[in-house]
Symmetry: C2
Subunit: 372 residues, 2 copies
C-alpha cells in the first residue's frame, strides 16, 4: 500500500492544505488516509479441529478475537471448525489454493506430501515445547520453514502447542518391547512408522471411530492427545492402561497457515498484529493445557484409568529406530536433510542444557508432593 506522508501521518494538519483547496484536499486525502489507518478486511479460517477440542479450536477464536480488537474491529477472521467448509486434513490444500485465506492445522498431517513437514510440528523424541520455540524463534527454524512453505504457497506462523502428550490407551499392559509385536495401535505420522519397525501394526482411524474400534477389539490401543482432550472420548472405559510419555509427540506446534499471496497483500501493520496474536495464542494454549491436564488426569484415574510408564527397553528401541529413520530420510530427501542439519545439533545442545537448570529444579519440586 502507498506510504506517502499524508497517509502515514493522518493527524498532520498540513495534509489538509492542498493546491486543490481545503474541500478537495480533505476529500482526496481523507479517504485513503482512513483506509490506510485500518482498512476493512474479512478472512475465513478453516481449523483442522472440531469445536469440542476447546483448546485447539480455541486457537482460532482467540487469534480472531485479538486481531479484531487490535484493529478496532476492521480486520475480521471468521473461524470454521473441521468439516464445516473444508475437511480436517485438507486445510493446507484449501489455504494453498485460496479456497480460504488461512487455517490452524498441524504440518505433520501433511508428511505424505513431504516428510520434511514434520519439522514444523515436532519429531518423535525431538525438541520439547520450550526447545521448539527456541529453535523456531532464535535457532533459524522459522527461516527454514518459511523457505520450505513458500514452495507450497503458504506462510506458516507458530500459533499453538500441546506440550508433551500421553502415550495412549492400551487394553493390555506393555511389559517389554516384544509386547509391541502385532499390536494394532491407532497412531499416525512418523511415530507410526517408527513403531512399525518394532512390529506394531499402525492403524489410521478418525477420532470419532476410535472408541468403538477399541470397544470391539478391532484395535488393541489408541493414542490421541493428553488427558484434557482424551477425557472427552471416554477411552478409559474400554482400555484402562494409560501410558506415558507420548514419546512420538514431546510437543506439537500448531501452525497458522496463510495463503502466501493473501499474506503479502496484507498491510504491514496487520501482518504485525497477526504475528503477535499467534505468538500470544501459542503461549496461552500451552498454559491452558498445563492448567486443564492435571484435573482431567485426576478425573480419569478416579474413573478407573491405570497409569503406566513405558518400559525403558521400549523407549530405547523406539529411540534407536527413530534416529535410524531420520538418517535414512535425510539421505533420501534434500528438504528433510536441510532441516535435519539445523535441527540435530540444536536438539543435542538443548538436551545438555536442560539437564543442568530446568530438569534438576523440576525433578526436585515435583518430588516434594505426594500423589493423589
Amino acid at each position: 500500500m502507498s506510504q506517502d506522508t499524508s497517509t502515514r501521518r493522518p493527524l498532520d494538519r498540513r495534509a489538509f492544505v492542498g493546491t486543490a483547496g481545503i474541500a478537495g484536499a480533505a476529500a482526496a486525502i481523507a479517504t485513503p488516509a482512513i483506509a490506510q489507518a485500518n482498512p476493512k478486511i474479512t478472512w475465513r479460517l478453516t481449523s483442522s479441529y472440531p469445536k469440542s477440542l476447546d483448546t485447539l479450536f480455541g486457537l482460532s477464536t482467540q487469534v480472531a478475537k485479538r486481531v479484531s480488537e487490535a484493529t478496532d474491529g476492521q480486520f475480521q477472521i471468521q473461524p470454521f471448525a473441521a468439516g464445516e467448509i473444508v475437511p480436517a486434513l485438507q486445510a493446507l490444500d484449501a489455504v494453498q489454493s485460496g479456497t480460504v485465506e488461512c487455517s490452524h492445522s498441524l504440518s505433520s498431517f501433511y508428511i505424505g506430501k513431504d516428510p520434511a513437514f514434520a519439522f514444523d510440528t515436532s519429531l518423535p523424541f525431538g525438541l520439547n515445547t520450550r526447545q521448539t520455540n527456541a529453535w523456531l524463534y532464535h535457532g533459524g527454524g522459522r527461516e527454514l520453514i518459511a523457505e520450505f512453505m513458500k514452495g507450497h504457497n503458504v506462510h506458516a506462523i507458530p500459533s499453538g502447542n500441546t506440550g508433551a502428550q500421553m502415550g495412549g490407551w492400551f487394553r493390555k499392559e506393555i511389559k517389554t518391547v516384544n509386547d509391541l509385536k502385532g499390536l494394532k495401535f491407532r497412531i499416525a505420522g512418523l511415530g507410526g512408522t517408527i513403531l512399525a519397525r518394532l512390529g506394531v501394526v499402525p492403524q489410521q482411524i478418525a477420532g470419532g471411530d476410535i472408541y468403538p474400534s477399541l470397544e470391539r477389539g478391532t484395535i488393541d490401543a489408541a493414542e490421541f492427545s493428553g488427558p484434557a482432550d482424551d477425557e472427552k472420548l471416554g477411552f478409559q472405559k474400554v482400555a484402562k492402561y494409560y501410558y506415558y510419555p507420548g514419546f512420538w509427540e514431546g510437543c506439537a506446534n500448531v501452525s497458522f497457515f496463510v495463503n502466501l499471496d493473501k499474506w503479502n497483500g496484507l498491510p504491514a501493520h496487520y501482518r504485525a498484529v497477526v504475528e503477535a496474536a499467534c505468538a500470544e495464542a501459542l503461549s496461552h494454549s500451552v498454559a491452558k493445557y498445563d492448567h486443564s491436564n492435571p484435573d482431567a488426569l485426576f478425573r480419569l484415574v478416579a474413573a478407573g484409568a491405570e497409569l503406566r510408564a513405558f518400559p525403558q527397553d521400549v523407549m530405547q528401541a523406539a529411540f534407536k529406530e527413530a534416529m535410524a529413520l531420520y538418517g535414512e530420510l535425510a539421505a533420501s530427501n534434500a528438504n528433510f536433510k536441510k532441516f535435519y542439519d539445523s535441527w540435530l545439533p540444536y536438539w543435542r545442545k538443548e538436551q545438555i542444557w536442560f539437564r543442568v537448570a530446568e530438569l534438576p529444579y523440576d525433578a526436585f519440586t515435583s518430588s516434594q508432593v505426594q500423589s493423589r
Copy 2:
C-alpha cells in the same frame, strides 16, 4: 472515545453524505475518523535492566517495536535503560507517580513494600516457567495480581521470563548444609531470607560490584542469573564452582508495569496491541534464554567453571524453611495469604502432572546425549 458509526466504519461512503455538504462532512468526519483509527501517542518506558543484559532490556525494545508496527507507527514507546532517567529499583515508583508511563521490572524487587509482590515474579521452589504462565493466564493469577496492583496504581502484564536460573558462583564447594553457616552470599529477595535461616549471611551488592567483592573475598559466593547473563560478568575467573539449580528462582516473570490512569486512558485497540505484544515478548524471551544459555554454559566450562549440583540435604533444608516462611507470611499478611491460598494448591497439582508427561519425556531425551 466516541464510537459513532461514521468513525467506526471509515470506509462507509454514506459518512460523506451530510447535510453540511460533501466538503463540510468530509472535513468534519475525516479528522475524528482518522484520530479514532490510530491516534498518535508517545510513552516513555524505564527498564530495571542495563542494555548489556540484551534479553531483559530487549523485552522493552521488542514490545516498543511490535506496538509501533501494529499501530502503523502511531503508538511510540521509548525505552530507557536502568539509570538513564530512573534508577533500576525505583521503576515501580516512577510508574506509580506517573514520572514515566510504563516499565519493565521485577515485582520481587519490591517485596520491601509488601512480600505479596513476590507472587507476580516467582517464589523459591515455586511454579516453573510454564506452570507460572498456566496460573497467570488460566488459574486466576492475573486477576489476583490486577486487584493487588490496583492498590499501587499500576496495571501489570506478564512480559518476560528467564526460565530456571543457576545457583550462582562459589569460591569453595558446598558439600553439606553445614557449609552454608556464615557463608557471605550475594543473594536478594525471599531466597536470601530462606538461606539466612540456614546460617547464610545474605549480601546486597549491585551487579557491577559483585566481581571485585568476590575477587577480594569480601563475599564467598554470588548468584546473578543464568549462563548467558552470568558470562558477561566473568565470575568464573574468581569463583570457579558454578552451582545448580537456582532453587530460589525456578523462573522469574518480568512484568510490564503501566500507570493505571494511563492504561485506562488508552484506546481499547491499543490496550489489545500492548497485551499481545507483551505475551509475545514473554514467549520470545524464554526462547532466547533457552537458545543462548547452552552455548554460554559450554564457553564458561571451557573457561574453567566447574559445574556442581547442590547437595540434596541443602535442597531439602531450604525447601523446609521456604514452606515454613510462606506459612508465617500467610499468617501475618492478608495480601500474601490471598495469593498463597490460590497458589499453593495450584503448585501441588502442577507438580503431580509434570511428573507424568513432561519430566519422563525430558529425562529420557536428555539422557540420550553425551556431555561435552
